[in-house]
């Protein structure tokens, strides 16, 4: 059980999770597959020694985003979808072609560079101190403006989300009275 086996297992988990999430007709199954994908990715982050990112991945994606999506699914209809209902959109064939093309375009430079980057072994940078502490200091020292802008963005997003969701309710009330 070395790193390579772990990588292949985690890669398989995340790829299968993502595929099921994208293709599954049942939306709730899809969301849970998506969560499996997030968990697999968190495992990959751990493999890359980014433990804090892995925790944030679980906390934000599996904890918050997953639940948010579940709420959205429960608030809208068609959880499972009828059989007669088409899952794929009209241009799905061309979509698949484009996705494949993009994949090749991304892959080409990587494959060409393989002989170059193969030697790039990870630096032995196992931090003596807590890497979480390092990250915290970095966030405060050079990136304080980014953090503040991010906080502003999150607040704006929150207000926007509440307004968007509530505006619908007001118009719905109007519809009902007609």
């Amino acid at each position: 059980m070395n790193e390579v086996t772990a990588f292949w297992i985690l890669a398989a988990i995340s790829v299968i999770g993502a595929l099921v999430a994208v293709r599954k007709r049942n939306l709730v199954h899809g969301v849970f597959a998506l969560l499996v994908f997030f968990a697999g990715l968190a495992g990959l982050f751990l493999l890359l020694l980014a433990e804090f990112i892995a925790v944030v991945q679980i906390l934000v994606y599996a904890g918050a985003v997953g639940i948010l999506i579940l709420f959205a699914i429960m608030l809208t209809d068609r959880v499972t979808g009828k059989d007669a209902f088409r899952v794929t959109s009209r241009g799905s064939f061309w979509g698949a072609i484009i996705a494949l093309a993009v994949f090749l375009v991304i892959l080409l430079p990587t494959i060409r560079e393989i002989p170059l980057i193969e030697n790039a072994t990870p630096k032995d940078m196992i931090v003596e101190q807590s890497s979480v502490k390092e990250l915290g200091t970095k966030l405060i020292e050079p990136y304080i403006v980014t953090i503040e802008v991010l906080a502003l963005l999150l607040t704006a997003a929150l207000i926007g989300a509440v307004t968007a969701a509530q505006g619908g309710r007001a118009s719905e009330k109007g519809e009902n009275t007609e």
Partner: protein
């Protein structure tokens, strides 16, 4: 194969898997007894050790009850509703138990056989143990939703949705009240937090620590679906909530998961505010730390049971209002106050100054809580009744 490593891992994890489930068994008995006594009943007192096959029973205050319950649960039929999603119905109880068991290893339980330098496994030495704890506890919500949705039952789904709304809302005050301690210690490491409180320097004795502890405890009650926040399983409204359709061993798993989560979150409260393993005599006898830790956890569990026997269940709107309008502002204010108090103390090291800071912080927090309470309290006028002539 590194057999030594495997041995170390077993030494670190097996005690957790032995101690907490056995504590769970005892707690179910204690809870039934205590609730019965609170209601002036006797509680389970018959099941004990049978002396002969034909009667004669050493009842031992009904201590055999957990074993009897366990055996009953194991042998019950496993019923899955017709329309249920069979896979998710099976996965949900397992998924609810795994996070609860997993977070136990972040508690700074310093077993004597783990203190040696040669032992390489120290789960609680993980950097960011506190945030790991919250991240993994959050997964419990998904298991609850899974159970509610997979049962294909309206009551289950209602219970599941209630549980999600409640857990997401109360997770915020829970994390924000823990942030105070993390901020003061300057570390997310559970062992370092425990070390910072050595020698009666417990954070619950600080005004901000007390406020954070109270908020944390209330939020923990809600997070583990304990009374008075047990709306997801409110019997009088939605049968049993998300585990309406569960029977037998799956139900037992849910039950076990719920109680293990209670122990875990109480353990975190003890770590953050009640000095972890600190207590009289730990300097001389280091193994007392584990005993003290578990004793404190048991006391918190006892308070939870006591509260369950005392308080009636909240309404849904009261529940949400309490989280968002009372606990959230108070916990944010608490962070500010902790920061100011820390800086004031650092600036001038005098007993008088620290006393003034202490009192001022307490007064501000209490006044804020009182004000929030006043603002949020529903304006209920005394009712006037009219009777027909």
């Amino acid at each position: 194969m590194n057999w030594e490593l495997i041995g170390d891992i077993l030494l670190a994890t097996v005690p957790l898997l032995v101690i907490f489930p056995s504590m769970f068994a005892l707690t179910t008995w204690v809870e039934r007894k205590a609730l019965a006594r609170i209601q002036n009943r006797i509680g389970p007192n018959k099941v004990g050790v049978p002396l002969t096959p034909y009667g004669g029973n050493l009842s031992l205050f009904g201590l055999g009850q957990p074993a009897a319950d366990g055996i009953k649960m194991l042998f019950k039929e496993n019923i899955v509703p017709t329309g249920a999603d069979r896979l998710f119905h099976l996965l949900a109880p397992i998924l609810s138990l795994i996070p609860a068991m997993l977070v136990l290893c972040f508690l700074p339980l310093e077993f004597p056989w783990l203190n040696g330098e040669q032992n390489s496994v120290k789960a609680f030495m993980l950097d960011g143990a506190v945030i790991f704890f919250f991240a993994i506890t959050g997964l419990n919500t998904l298991a609850v939703f899974m159970a509610g949705w997979a049962s294909r039952n309206k009551y289950s789904l209602l219970g599941g949705m209630r549980a999600i709304a409640q857990m997401v809302s109360y997770e915020i005050p829970l994390v924000l009240s823990a942030v105070v301690v993390v901020m003061i210690v300057g570390s997310l490491n559970a062992a370092e937090i425990a070390e910072a409180q050595a020698g009666w320097n417990w954070y619950v004795f600080q005004p901000w620590g007390l406020a954070a502890f109270v908020i944390f405890f209330i939020a923990a009650l809600a997070e583990t679906n304990r009374s008075p926040f047990d709306l997801p399983e409110a019997e009088s409204e939605i049968i049993a909530g998300y585990f309406t359709e569960y029977s037998g061993f799956k139900f037992a798993l849910f039950f076990l998961g719920e109680y293990i989560a209670m122990f875990a979150i109480s353990g975190l409260a003890v770590t953050l505010f009640l000095g972890a393993g600190g207590g009289p005599g730990v300097e001389a006898l280091p193994w007392l730390k584990v005993i003290w830790f578990l004793a404190k956890v048991c006391i918190l569990i006892g308070v939870m049971i006591w509260l369950r026997g005392t308080l009636p269940r909240l309404r849904v709107d009261q529940l949400m209002g309490f989280a968002w309008k009372f606990l959230l502002p108070l916990s944010i204010l608490n962070i500010f106050i902790a920061g100011f108090a820390w800086h004031a103390k650092k600036a001038n090291e005098g007993t008088a100054v620290s006393v003034i800071v202490w009192v001022a912080a307490l007064i501000i927090l209490y006044a804020a809580a009182k004000g929030l309470d006043h603002v949020n309290r529903a304006k209920v006028k005394p009712r006037t009744y009219q009777y027909g002539e």
